[in-house]
Symmetry: C2
Subunit: 309 residues, 2 copies
């Protein structure tokens, strides 16, 4: 039984914030429990927990706690909206690829519902609006966002093999924005796509993402997003390990990407991400500890501690 | 409190079927109650109510009772699947247009979920499969099926006016399968589209469906389906009054269309359909009575008696 009124009393009555309590309490509650805490907080103090956290916390720590406390569908709707408003390069659209390709079909539907409630436009309307100048990118993203994939294990292996051949033809002929590429990646089930990518590797000697990367297409944006889509569909843990690693290596830290990867995956596949991360010769905990500090660091390490496979 | 065991005892123990009891009981229960009856029947007799109805009833009466007894999302998934398997002309695809344009966004999502459960492929995968030869039709249907429209009342009136102009340009230039037509009809909210169609009429003197019909495009299939889509988005009751009327007038009766229109709309907007029907100078009850007979007639008239606006 949660007791939000004793847990959050100090937040509500303005004695200053106990950041450790925020980390300890929220950082160890699953999505359903966090929503219950936020509901109870609202009932007891007649104010939104999110608004209170916003006024009491600051910086990267604040952003991470807020993202973590939001309902996951609402959180992803906000991430998608921010992504569309700040398109500066391929990485800014990654959140949309992640939501469409590394989430369950039901979660994606919930994100679309939350998006309509928050913004009074559908996510696909906003893609059309913000990417009006980029026809094939729009086509790709709208189809990914609109998918409701069959979520079972049944796979027609001959079909997977023939679609691997189609993908191979289009990639070799620099037809990355061909309707068939978008159709296959945008509608097929994840089980089917895993089988397709496996056939691709067996039949053509390279993985599909290697071939996409080696493609001579002029459209680098489509190329890089397709590669991320394939990775998110096939092996989300690999993708998110890469997001965390690249947010840390090099000059400075990309806190936005780091926070997003840890917060959105803590309850999904963090254990797998930690396994993947070992290939960099360092643990994800050590990398985070070395590049962040204070409450932000403690909060991320708490979330990384989630042991969900 | 429903008592399925006394109500359906005669069905279960094989003393022959009391068709009047089927009509009286099922015909007066809403979707939630019918699902409860089917669940209770399954528990009590260890067999599916649908299977029993299939073995006890026959002909058009059987088809109508089965469609009515199915969960509405599952029913529409089956109608969409039949439509795709039997494409012979524009009318065969009407069920898909109706499900995508004359249903609520949430119902459409439930139909897609039911489709995946029943057929182990998504509805959009099956559209791609069955309409592989018809590129623009596929594009249109996949976008309609994949929509999750904002369901509120907020409308940007200037945007609606400018999109009316875009639609007008494309229709006048025989560009019915232009991306913009599909984008506007496939993503905008119904409130926005009603405003758009109203601007169309005010600014260009004719309604959009009149203009679509007068279009010189060679693609009659796209033309007729777009017209149905516009009607279903703008005024579903008009469309379904027309479906009922045209299933009755002329030689013979199109029982498939008649049953579909009555069964799928009885709980949605039957009162409005009856109002619309008056324009034909006859009541919907009289038309149905004149063209059908027996249990089938009695069942349809019971459903038409639903007084939902």
């Amino acid at each position: 039984m949660l007791e939000p009124h004793s847990q959050f009393g100090s937040l509500a009555i303005g004695w200053g914030t106990d950041e450790n309590a925020v980390i300890e309490i929220l950082g160890h509650r699953n999505a359903k429990q966090r929503i219950e805490i936020a509901d109870a907080y609202k009932r007891l103090y007649d104010e939104s927990l999110i608004a209170r956290l916003q006024s009491e916390l600051s910086g990267d720590f604040e952003k991470a706690v807020i993202l973590w406390t939001l309902d996951p569908a609402e959180r992803d709707a906000k991430l998608a909206n921010e992504a569309l408003k700040s398109v500066k390069g391929d990485k800014h659209l990654w959140p949309i690829i992640e939501i469409t390709c590394a989430s369950s079909p039901d979660h994606l539907i919930n994100v679309r519902k939350a998006y309509c409630s928050l913004y009074k436009y559908s996510l696909e309307e906003d893609i059309d609006l913000h990417l009006a100048q980029h026809h094939s990118l729009r086509q790709l993203l709208v189809r990914l966002v609109s998918s409701y994939r069959y979520n079972g294990e049944d796979v027609d292996d001959a079909l997977a093999k023939s679609e691997a051949a189609k993908l191979h033809d289009d990639i070799r002929n620099n037809q990355l924005h061909d309707d068939e590429v978008i159709r296959i990646l945008g509608t097929r089930s994840k089980s089917h796509l895993k089988a397709t990518f496996e056939h691709y590797k067996q039949d053509y000697g390279k993985t599909i993402d290697e071939d996409i990367e080696g493609n001579k297409s002029n459209d680098e944006l489509i190329m890089s997003l397709l590669k991320v889509a394939v990775l998110c569909l096939d092996s989300p843990a690999k993708h998110f390990a890469e997001v965390v690693r690249s947010s840390i290596v090099g000059f400075g830290t990309d806190e936005g990407s780091l926070t997003r990867a840890i917060v959105t995956r803590a309850e999904v596949d963090m254990k797998k991400i930690k396994e993947e991360y070992k290939k960099y010769g360092v643990s994800i905990n050590d990398d985070i500890s070395g590049d962040t500090s204070g409450d932000y660091k403690n909060f991320l390490l708490t979330l990384v501690g989630w042991a969900i496979p």
